[in-house]
Symmetry: C2
Subunit: 328 residues, 2 copies
């Protein structure tokens, strides 16, 4: 019997989960849950239905794992604990400072209902965290570096769009090659914000808008741009649509550390991602951890977990014997 | 109380474990076990003792986890199951085809004595296997590539040394940059052995030896060299000592895969290692998994495990709360 997956929220992430399920034959889409009128939501999977989130309790026995596809600011803090009363849940909660609080709420809801909750799943937090953790455990005497990009930052793109005279915009975060190379060489430089990443903005200005003023407002914007070397390109709306409509992202997690009786040897561990679609990759990670949630529950476990708490084999559709034979 | 570690076998790997323990204050060296006369073995750790492997049973209650530092051909198949009757054990068994058999033997010994055994720990098998497995679970629709090097291959160096007229030799395995780049770009090329790696030999010839014959014997040696583009450099003994006495290694595990309803998006996951000392890095991995073995046993678990079966958090000296706060 396949694992029955519910999708809560049908934006880029929800659609990504739907696509990922297609590639995992041990799972099936049990339903998409939306706050909109279900009749207005078109999904891709033949035979699957869209339900109102208000009717979710009726689906209590039809869904094994609910994948929460809302935002971390206001959706997940409410939805994940609520759903954990009825289903095993997986979310991509990424407000770093609030993880302990979110963990506690999901843990309580999940434990008192015999459910598994896995939070902060994706690539950062998620696979990047996992690689930071493994590398720290292997090389306790070392230094971590995380670089993001090249990729689209939604928050920074939004910030540019809010500037007066800007019709549309896309912002790319780009790691600085020379900093990456220094870290890869096993040097352990102290890098400022400006030395690690540059920012590149593609801006469609409104007709007659003062481009010099827009460029200056971007480059001097505190928190978002003022600490970085930023390049601004003014382009046409057509160009933006044609060349900048994707949502690529990625990055690098590097740890370099010393071993040897006198710390004479240097080692560099690097993990990197190059993603055509940030939400589709995040969805793929969510789906693998949904499998893990289901399996852990089959063993009688309950409560909240993170990527740190889950043995890798639970993510794979293959058996332990197959994994040992084929991938070890 | 710290975790008491035994080292079985004191070659490069055993010494690496000793060095790694120095960096992990929650563990201590309980003793080194050797087949040699213990009086002839000098170790680095003040206050620690060397014992004969014949006296190991007397140390049953003084060691928590025994780290086996012998070879996979004849040592580990016997020693790991034997030690698993008395201690939790960790080894770096790397004879791929015999892993299921080794697993079964260690599992039986460990289970019937309430011990934990973790086998095939290191970087390949080990961290590379782990990364292949994670990447396969996240991107089921994709293709794996493993490249090794630049690094010293002990087996290939030995093969060159066995040639008549060769006094000493070192062989490096080198990944082909253009193949690496193609894979990183998300292409999924079919690569032959020759297209993935080249081999470079540094040879000290005996006086008067026929260098042309030696070079030809190397380049045409079946299994070891005939399928590769091989370069042979004749150098002096001094030069070999000065420039080629290290044991660096490393490599790349890359998976590229497709997502999207029509497989329209490509993602590339890459994990790489650049190691000054192959045995010291392997040792560092062994020590982290020794911590995991101890912790699993504290939970009452027993039997044989691999890196696939062990939740990442068990490797770290930090608590789950700290990990969530600092590394997630």
């Amino acid at each position: 019997m396949s694992i029955r997956i519910g999708i809560w929220g049908y934006g880029n992430l929800g659609r990504g989960v739907e696509c990922a399920l297609k590639q995992n034959p041990d799972m099936e889409l049990a339903g998409v849950f939306t706050r909109r009128d279900p009749k207005t939501v078109q999904i891709l999977t033949e035979g699957a239905s869209v339900y109102s989130t208000e009717d979710v309790e009726k689906m209590k026995d039809a869904v094994d794992v609910m994948i929460l596809c809302g935002g971390s600011a206001t959706d997940l803090p409410v939805q994940t604990p609520k759903c954990a009363q009825m289903f095993h849940v997986v979310d991509s909660f990424d407000t770093h400072a609030k993880i302990p609080e979110h963990f506690a709420k999901v843990d309580e809801a999940a434990k008192s209902n015999g459910k598994i909750g896995i939070i902060s799943v994706g690539w950062d937090p998620g696979m990047f965290s996992l690689n930071r953790m493994y590398a720290n455990a292997l090389l306790p005497n070392g230094k971590d570096y995380t670089f993001w990009g090249k990729g689209v930052s939604q928050g920074h793109s939004d910030a540019v769009r809010r500037i007066d005279g800007v019709k549309d915009a896309k912002q790319y975060t780009i790691p600085v090659d020379s900093a990456l190379d220094a870290v890869r060489n096993g040097d352990t430089p102290e890098l400022t914000t400006r030395q690690k990443h540059t920012r590149e903005c593609y801006v469609v200005a409104e007709e007659g808008a003062d481009q010099a003023r827009i460029e200056n407002e971007i480059k001097t914007m505190p928190n978002y741009f003022s600490d970085y070397d930023t390049t601004v390109h003014f382009i046409s709306e057509e160009e933006l649509k044609k060349n900048h409509s994707g949502i690529p992202h990625g990055g690098f997690v590097i740890r370099s550390g010393k071993t040897g009786w006198n710390e004479e040897n240097t080692h560099v561990i690097e993990y990197s991602l190059k993603l055509d679609s940030n939400p589709e990759f995040t969805s793929s990670v969510l789906v693998a951890y949904a499998r893990a949630a289901y399996r852990l529950s089959q063993e009688g476990q309950s409560g909240c977990k993170t990527v740190f708490d889950i043995a890798p084999a639970y993510l794979s559709a293959q058996s332990s014997e197959e994994l040992r034979k084929q991938l070890l």
